[in-house]
Amino acid sequence: MIRITTIFLCMLLAAAAAGRYRAEVSVKETRSELRRLETSKLEELRAIQMLRAEVAYLENPNRLSKIAQAKTDLRPSEREQLLTARQLAVIMNGDDAEVARSDDSAPGDVITNAIAMAQLADAE
């Protein structure tokens, strides 16, 4: 009985040692993977940071304004180019006489004629 118990305990000890070894290895691997992911994440974040800064630089309104002046005929929009959504709806329905009355609408969203033209083209 004693011998059986001793053998059982020894086997249990061996199994526990093996289990712990596997667990330790697994934990080490997981930690290593975690570190790799953290490093990778940090590098990605740095890359994103660089790209965001680059986008912000490229979208700098002063820069865009200079390019627009040099390369295009774009100018700041005039009052006549602006419509409210309600006015646009009236124009799209083809009732030009209603446009003047719809001009009484309260301040709301602003839509440029360019968008209006695009939508009219789509409708056609």
Binding site: E38, Q49, A53, A56, D103, A106
Partner: protein, 585 residues
């Protein structure tokens, strides 16, 4: 030593004894096993049992630990978290739409240890071949001296790879963090700048020193509107050869500053390249006598106190003498004017008479409630207390009524003007979004509505016809103030300003435009007053910025109805709804 003893009556008794004492009790006890094989077997059994118990405890502990390691949650190591914090020590600064204004950029520095270099000429030449901007001769000289040289502090990943591929001895790469301002000089006085080892030293950068690094600092400015403001200010400044210019756009419902410019300006990426004068924020720090814009405050106070109405009349003929001071008009109408006409034609005499009726005490009380007696509680360190007269008698009361004898910052003026036109509620100006923006009522809605009508006439029938912005029906007031000089005022040097609001019938944004000492041009027939430079600049800013701010142009009937009814709520409701949406985005 344990010995198992058993009495006749009760066999399961144990005593602890020495071997010699056993003999003394032999008569009373029957010794069953005190020696030989049986005794050894029992002893071994006891020891095995004890070992087994110890093993069971150890296995149990191992089992528990095994289960914890296998199935439990592993906390991330503290050092992993600290890496990201160290890499982002300062918060980003973004505008109200999320556009990046300031951020930390990870950089790679290229360093060369002179003592480890075998051939300085080879190292310098090869590095110069990859990085053409560096001075190979100077580098070679430093390496010959065995110095440790930082060749570049801002290598790109491609440049780093190219240098690495050279395989040169003594070459090292180090991580650096650089503060980058992608908008360059746009909004530079609001964003501010930092200095190595000091953090932020100016503007919101200084505010960011005490900001949580994890969250971006969201400024109230809209970079698109900022560009419009700076662009128009710079154009007019050049046309009129002005020494400086400044301006601001404020949300009258919250006090949030949408744009603020001070020209000349600087690039925060290289603040040292600009003279110190360019880094001064004239709009929040400098004190000026801003002139006739103060007439609107005096008129509003008189209306609120019930001592004047829109049609009250004042004698503006000739000159008005107060104590030892003669007050005259620049735009002399030389007739009896209504209160509205006093503002329309910017009559110093008329408004001095209004101030006389109001009295110094009540005038001071209103100006105090408009925040003109103390430094503004803004997030920027660059702010100052107004300069008030040592005594406030009838003469001072009369001159302060038209903005002379009191020096305030331009932002003070804009904040007070917003209060006059927004329905009468004073809001402290803010540069950071989501600050508490509760206001305090100074004027009634009715006073504010009357002032809006009067200020509209300044543009339709007064001194600011060039401030007209079709569709937006702006309101406002010109202000041309002679600059103080030794012993009085310099008649040939002036500050020309226009402070206004759009849409005039239900203001959402107040705008200030100012030029320091603009010069007359041929196109302005020799004039350099605010009506010729600041007012048209205001109109252009409105035309360009209003669509960006979500303001829709309306027709004249709508505007007229709103001006006459004075119903602010109906039109502000739509405006504020839009503003809330902007904030949520």
């Amino acid at each position: 030593m344990f010995k198992r003893l058993r009495s006749r009556a009760k066999p399961a008794a144990y005593v602890i004894c020495e071997a010699e004492t056993v003999e003394a009790t032999q008569e009373a006890l029957q010794v069953r096993a005190c020696g030989g094989r049986t005794r050894l077997a029992e002893r071994a059994q006891t020891r095995i049992m004890m070992c087994a118990v110890v093993f069971v405890f150890i296995f149990a502990a191992l089992g528990v630990r095994l289960a914890y390691v296998s199935f439990g949650q592993i906390k991330p190591a503290a050092r992993l978290a600290s890496v990201s914090v160290a890499d982002a020590p300062r918060p980003e600064i973004v505008d109200r739409q999320g556009a990046l204004l300031a951020t930390d950029l990870p950089m790679i520095a290229l360093e060369v240890a002179g003592r480890e270099v075998w051939d300085p000429h080879e190292v310098a030449t090869k590095l110069a071949a990859v990085l053409p901007a560096i001075d190979a001769t100077a580098l070679e000289k430093k390496l010959h001296e065995g110095r440790y040289v930082e060749v570049r502090a801002d290598l790109t990943p491609a440049e780093r790879r190219a240098v690495f591929d050279l395989g040169l001895p003594g070459v090292r790469f180090a991580s650096r963090v650089k503060r980058f301002y992608p908008q360059a000089d746009l909004g530079a006085h609001i964003v501010g700048h930092g200095e190595p080892g000091k953090g932020g030293v100016m503007g919101l950068e200084k505010t960011a020193n005490n900001w949580r690094a994890e969250e971006p600092l969201r400024a109230t400015i809209d970079i698109r509107v900022q560009q419009v403001l700076e662009d128009e200010l710079a154009a007019t400044m050049q046309t009129f050869s002005a020494k400086a210019a400044w301006g601001a756009v404020m949300d009258v419902a919250t006090g949030e500053v949408i744009a603020l410019a001070s020209l000349p300006d600087f690039d925060p990426n290289a603040p040292g390249a600009a003279p110190a004068d360019s880094r001064r924020n004239r709009a929040t720090y400098d004190l000026y006598e801003l002139g006739s814009a103060f007439k609107s405050f005096t008129a509003a106070a008189a209306l609120e106190d019930g001592i004047a109405s829109e049609t009250s009349t004042y004698d503006a003929r000739g000159r008005f003498r107060v104590a030892d001071r003669n007050i005259s008009d620049f735009h002399g109408e030389n007739r009896i004017l209504t209160l509205s006409e006093v503002i329309q034609h910017s009559s110093n005499i008329g408004i001095a008479r209004v101030a006389g009726d109001l009295g110094p005490a009540r005038q001071k009380a209103y100006l105090r409630r408009l925040g003109l007696f103390e430094a503004l509680p803004i997030e920027l360190a660059e702010n100052r207390s107004p300069q008030l007269p040592a005594q406030w008698g009838p003469v001072e009361s009369a001159t302060i009524a038209y903005g002379h004898g009191i020096s305030v910052t331009p932002l003070h003026l804009l904040t007070a003007f917003s209060t006059v036109v927004n329905g009468g509620i004073y809001h402290q100006p803010a540069f950071v979004v989501d600050r508490d923006v509760r206001g305090q009522r100074v004027f009634s809605e009715n006073t504010s509505a009357v002032m809006r009508r009067i200020l509209r006439r300044v543009i339709t029938d007064g001194t600011a016809e060039y401030a007209q912005a079709p569709g937006y029906f702006p309101i406002g007031k010109t202000a041309t103030a002679d600059k103080p000089s030794a012993g009085g005022y310099d008649r040939n040097a002036r500050i020309a300003s226009f402070v206004g609001a759009v849409p005039g019938f239900a203001p959402r944004y107040a705008i200030l435009i100012s030029f320091d000492d603009p010069q007359p041009t041929e196109d302005t027939y020799g004039y350099a007053t605010a009506g010729w430079n600041a007012a048209p600049t205001f109109a252009r800013v409105v035309s360009r910025a209003a669509p960006l701010l979500g303001l829709s142009p309306v027709n004249e009937a709508t505007a007229l109805e709103a001006f006459v009814s004075g119903e602010l709520a109906r039109y502000q409701e739509a405006s504020l709804g839009s503003s809330t949406t902007e904030r949520l985005q």
